[in-house]
């Protein structure tokens, strides 16, 4: 069983802090926890919400309704009270009419802890009362969490937590039948942290970015990790500078990356094409939000898939990965950086707001630093040819500063890197560059399957729709509907034969995507990997919930 707690209020009211507190405490207590965030593009005001879903089995998706709503202001109450499950509880920071439970979190915090910022601790205490969990478990968590801030802070928070529980009881809140702890893994990561950590561990030593939601988190993570891992983090004047700095740094031999979102990525197209021509391992973390243009800056979507795949003028190869889980964020970041270096070509890691803000407890990630193989040839010597024509299309890579002269040209060039207008060489070089596509296809991460093997109905997910689709498969199974699911965590190139085989013969194929035009379905069709198919599309800026997909499928 699982429950869903929703904290909602204005930006600046501590929605996120309260959410993270509960996630941390519940994870520590051994529940499986998964949290998601929805917020507006503003620093104060508006309406944000934070869902903490937790239970006794692993969770893969958010739920639409909450079992407990903590409304930090009236707007939250008015807007979200309707989305509470029948029999659920609604806590309101202030006076509230029945059936809502009015608890003065802020007031209690001021009275008990001496400061309004502890209102979230009071709220957490109240939630614990509703769940029937011992508030002392929360107090213990707080003690560890606030240890660095000193015993005064710890004690005041403890008092606030206890006071919250007490107030809830006084208000007549009865404990419900809540999940039992199962000793689930205690380490919580967000998508952002998994990407950032993996990048640092893989040997990324230079990051150049221009801030843009929802990619800034990874940028900031790496800035925070810079001293530990020896990373130079530079805020570029614009995205064009960022991608060109990355090109320059990779030329210099360093593993380098940039982080951006749609509008910033649009500005990087020319630089991406340069990396294609120069054969540089530029790594781009592209975190999607709904467009076009500025769109919905803090919401989620999967609208930039086909753009990411075609971005840049002229023809060159690339790989595009799209993680669906925290674990995949971690694994594919490293794999992406590796692939970029193995094939000396740009690689894009495609995430979205939902995924970067997703938090979940999983077995601790390996934090061993191990720089990827940069495939650098030392002592390349005087006769070195940067673009030596090879069977694989990959030429031995040297970097400047050693014994070789390393010459790159954005014009068509001869094997030694110098500009040419010899049109036979042109063809040879195009063929060489595109030949790398063969290896890239061989290396494609095969789609992962889940559910009823060989079922007549196949659901296809990519990137962050993995979790919701997987939950949908489980929900459907409980209803006796057997479907199989195929998840793509690499969306380009497409290994047509592999997909055809995995798809096989089905009576029904449904592609689930966070966009309005069915972009991945289009790609699979172009590749000849699937024929006609159904699509479940969502483009209102929110992520799918598993239930929602199950419903759509059953229609």
């Amino acid at each position: 069983m699982d429950m869903n707690v929703r904290i909602a209020g204005e930006a600046g009211q501590g929605v996120q802090t309260t959410g993270e507190l509960l996630v941390g405490a519940l994870a520590k207590m051994g529940f499986h926890v998964l949290s998601t965030q929805v917020y507006m593009s503003r620093i104060r005001g508006g309406l944000n919400s934070y869902d903490i879903r937790f239970g006794d089995a692993e969770l893969h998706s958010a739920r639409r309704k909450a079992d407990i709503l903590v409304a930090l202001n009236e707007e939250a109450l008015d807007t979200l009270a309707a989305d509470v499950e029948a029999g659920g509880a609604v806590f309101f920071d202030g006076k509230a009419e029945k059936p809502y439970v009015g608890i003065g979190f802020t007031r209690a915090a001021k009275e008990t802890g001496g400061s309004a910022v502890m209102a979230n601790t009071v709220a957490a205490g109240a939630v614990f009362a509703r769940l029937g969990y011992d508030v002392e478990a929360l107090v213990q968590y707080l003690a560890v969490e606030f240890k660095k801030k000193g015993s005064d802070v710890v004690e005041k928070n403890a008092a606030c937590a206890r006071r919250g529980g007490q107030l809830a009881v006084e208000a007549g809140v009865a404990a419900v039948n809540a999940p039992k702890s199962v000793g689930a893994p205690g380490r919580v990561y967000s998508g952002t942290e998994a990407v950032g950590l993996s990048a640092a561990l893989s040997g990324v030593k230079f990051v150049a970015s221009y801030p843009m939601t929802p990619s800034t988190g990874v940028f900031t993570f790496l800035a925070g990790a810079a001293d530990k891992y020896g990373i130079v983090v530079e805020q570029a004047e614009d995205e064009i500078a960022a991608i060109n700095m990355v090109c320059g740094a990779t030329y210099g031999g360093v593993v380098a990356m940039t982080t951006t979102s749609g509008g910033g990525f649009a500005l990087m197209c020319e630089g991406l094409s340069l990396a294609g021509m120069h054969e540089l391992p530029a790594f781009v973390f592209l975190s999607q939000r709904p467009g076009p243009a500025t769109g919905l800056p803090t919401r989620t979507g999967q609208e930039d898939l086909q753009f990411a795949i075609r971005a840049g003028h002229g023809e060159f190869v690339r790989a595009v990965y799209a993680p669906g889980t925290i674990e995949e964020c971690y694994e594919l970041t490293r794999l992406g950086v590796e692939t970029a270096h193995k094939y000396q070509t740009p690689v894009i890691l495609l995430a979205d707001q939902y995924l970067v803000d997703l938090r979940k407890n999983i077995p601790p990630l390996d934090e061993t630093y191990k720089a990827i193989d940069r495939h650098i040839k030392e002592d390349a010597g005087e006769d070195y040819m940067r673009y030596a024509v090879t069977e694989s299309g990959v030429s031995p890579r040297a970097v400047p500063g050693g014994s070789a002269f390393v010459v790159l040209d954005s014009d068509e060039h001869t094997a030694d890197g110098h500009i040419t207008e010899n049109l036979d060489v042109r063809v040879e070089m195009v063929d060489k560059r595109l030949r790398k596509g063969r290896g890239l296809i061989e290396d494609v991460v095969p789609p992962a399957r889940y559910g009823a093997e060989g079922a007549g109905h196949l659901i296809i997910s990519w990137g962050s729709t993995y979790g919701p689709c997987r939950e949908a498969v489980d929900i459907l199974r409980t209803r006796g509907v057997e479907v199989e699911m195929l998840h793509f965590s690499q969306v380009w190139p497409i290994n047509t034969e592999a997909v055809k085989k995995a798809v096989g013969k089905r009576s029904r194929v449904t592609v689930v995507e966070g966009n309005a035009t069915g972009q991945f379905a289009g790609l699979l069709r172009e590749a000849g990997a699937i024929g006609e198919c159904e699509k479940i599309l969502k483009y209102n800026g929110l992520a799918f919930a598993g239930e929602e997909i199950a419903e759509e499928v059953s229609k």
């Binding site: 040997g203 030593k205 230079f206 150049a208 810079a226 001293d227 530990k228 891992y229 020896g230 990373i231 130079v232 530079e234 570029a236 004047e237 614009d238 064009i240 500078a241 960022a242 060109n244 700095m245 990355v246 090109c247 320059g248 740094a249 990779t250 030329y251 210099g252 031999g253 360093v254 380098a256 020319e270 630089g271 340069l274 120069h278 061993t368 630093y369 191990k370 720089a371 940069r374 970097v399 400047p400 500063g401 050693g402 014994s403 070789a404 002269f405 390393v406 010459v407 790159l408 040209d409 954005s410 014009d411 030694d416 890197g417 110098h418 500009i419």
Partner: protein, 273 residues
């Protein structure tokens, strides 16, 4: 070693001012003793940007206007390289204007040699950001109406480490300026080189420049910002050439703690973090 690859055919027009810049550059490298294996020439696109192909060095010939960020990335990756940009007035001050503005703030230790012919050469003669008012082209049919950008003045108010102007028609002066620029250790180094374009700039010809350039008097103190600004604003009948400004700022590399233990790229060699 310092010869151009023998099969490399120089694509410049015979008589182009770029030839003397190339010749002088090779001399400057000789004179400064810079190891060409540790020399990286970064360029964008344009006539000037073809320069790196005509001498011997590591080369990153990138995108139009984007030499500076690429050079910045490279310098950060390996600050032991001498990173020299060869660029045009359109490349550096037009398409690349934003990077120009911000690389100076950053004070990244790259040398920027701008072959300033006051015109777009490679694309056949449109006005560039430094074209004089009234300059007529096939696009600017009634003559240029935007006042020319003053890159030197901008660099000085942004406190660049080294700001100088020279002239392709005075190789001796040019050599001295190149050597001074190459030897400057303070950070962002700008050398704007007046370069006649015989094909598309029939206004600012070799003679036009010769009649106007005037070596800056020894009495000029390049560390005096006010004097430098005043000097940089001079243009017309008299065009000052020489070192206009110097600042005592520390370079980006020097200020970046991560680079204190050696180049970034060398940090893969040692033990893992």
């Amino acid at each position: 070693m310092n010869k151009i690859p023998s099969d490399m055919d120089i694509a410049w027009c015979p008589g182009c001012g770029n030839y003397s810049i190339l010749e002088t550059f090779d001399k400057a490298i000789e004179q400064t003793g810079i190891d060409r294996k540790k020399l990286a020439l970064v360029s964008g696109i344009g006539q000037a940007a073809k320069f790196p192909h005509y001498t011997k060095a590591n080369v990153f010939n990138g995108l139009h206007g984007r030499a500076l960020p690429a050079a910045t990335g490279l310098k950060i990756a390996n600050h032991e390289l001498s990173v020299v940009i060869t660029s045009g007035d359109g490349d550096m001050y037009g398409e690349g204007g934003n990077h120009f503005l911000h690389a100076i703030r950053r004070n990244i230790g790259v040398k920027v040699f701008v072959h300033d012919n006051q015109v777009y050469g490679l694309t056949k003669g449109q006005a560039s950001p430094t074209s004089d008012l009234g300059f007529v082209t096939k696009v600017q049919t009634h003559g240029v109406v935007s006042v020319p950008v003053n890159p030197l003045a901008v660099a000085i108010v942004e406190d660049a480490s080294f700001v100088a102007r020279s002239f392709a028609g005075d190789k001796e002066h040019l050599l001295a300026m190149m050597v001074a620029a190459l030897e400057n250790q303070g950070g962002f180094t700008l050398l704007d080189i007046l370069q006649p374009c015989i094909s598309f700039n029939r206004t600012n010809t070799l003679k036009w420049y010769k009649d106007r350039v005037k070596k800056i008097d020894e009495s000029h103190d390049p560390y005096n910002r006010e004097a430098a600004i005043a000097m940089s604003l001079k243009w017309g009948d008299e065009i000052p050439i020489g070192i206009i400004y110097r600042s005592r700022r520390e370079s980006f590399e020097a200020k970046t703690s991560m680079l204190a233990k050696g180049t970034l790229v060398s940090q893969y060699k040692g033990a893992a973090v």
